[in-house]
Amino acid sequence: MSIALLDIGLRHFLLVSLVVFALGLYCVLTRKNAIGILMGVELILNSANINYIAFSHFSSGRYDGQIFAIFVIMLAAAEAVIGLAIVLGIYQNFATIDVEATDNLQG
């Protein structure tokens, strides 16, 4: 149950990933700036990747976890590109990227 401080095991990496995930979640929840929200999403994806690599390293010795991590990195790049293109489009139309100002569709 206890965590050895000097013998680095799976739990240490999972705890680092947990902290990064919590900070990303906080970033997504509190930011009003659309780019800030995207940064929070990147933090969350990174924490998921740490979990993939850690489980892959400490369990199987096969490459499935690393390949999933590579796919996640690819999708994160795609998400960042599309997200930032949308943010720049919003900025051209609204002259702001405050996500609370862009509520034209709420009727």
């Binding site: 680095i8 009003k32 780019i35 940064m39 390293h57 400490f58 490459y63 599309i82 293109a85």
Partner: protein, 168 residues
């Protein structure tokens, strides 16, 4: 030695993530993402995932971070910190995040994870390339299609719309 490296990398990752999440200036947040990405890449290297570590640096630091900093600089009034990064609902967000963190840390610490007894590090590039062209060939090809769609989509979304008068 390995423990020391781990704690240094974890401190780099978590410290920069703290600045990303809590800084009131969006420019500081964007630049401290660099520390987070490099720290995570170091953690990958520590976990013997050398190929993924290099991919992390190439794609995240070389691609996504540059894009984010571009977007920050293009959309942000630098002298106007108060407007740029105001956050709402700190207390409810902190409560939610705290609850999620406590629940997940109880799970992480309490669970009996099955670990392999002897973990050795070996070069991974050969095996990953083999797997991409073997059992993972279909997702690999789908990934290339997704990237093409994203490329075209980003151009379509962000271009200026020019309507030609056809004179009809």
């Amino acid at each position: 030695m390995g423990a020391l490296i781990f704690y240094l990398l974890a401190a780099l990752t978590i410290g920069s993530a703290l600045i990303v999440a809590l800084s009131r200036n969006i420019v500081y947040s964007a630049f401290s993402l660099l520390g987070t990405f490099m720290g995570v890449a170091g953690l990958y290297a520590l976990l013997a995932a050398d190929f993924v570590a290099v991919i992390q640096i190439l794609v995240y630091v070389g691609g996504i971070l540059v894009l984010i900093i571009f977007a920050v600089m293009l959309t942000h009034r630098i002298d106007d910190v108060a407007v740029s990064n105001r956050s709402v609902g700190r207390l409810p967000a902190a409560l939610i995040v705290g609850a999620v963190g406590v629940i997940m840390s109880v799970g992480v610490v309490g669970a009996r994870w099955a670990q392999k007894a002897d973990v050795q590090a070996a070069p991974t590039t050969y095996g990953i390339g083999d797997a991409f062209l073997g059992p993972y060939i279909l997702p690999f090809e789908f990934a290339s299609v997704v990237l093409l769609v994203v490329l075209i989509g980003a151009v379509v979304v962000s271009r200026k719309e020019i309507r030609e008068e056809t004179g009809s």
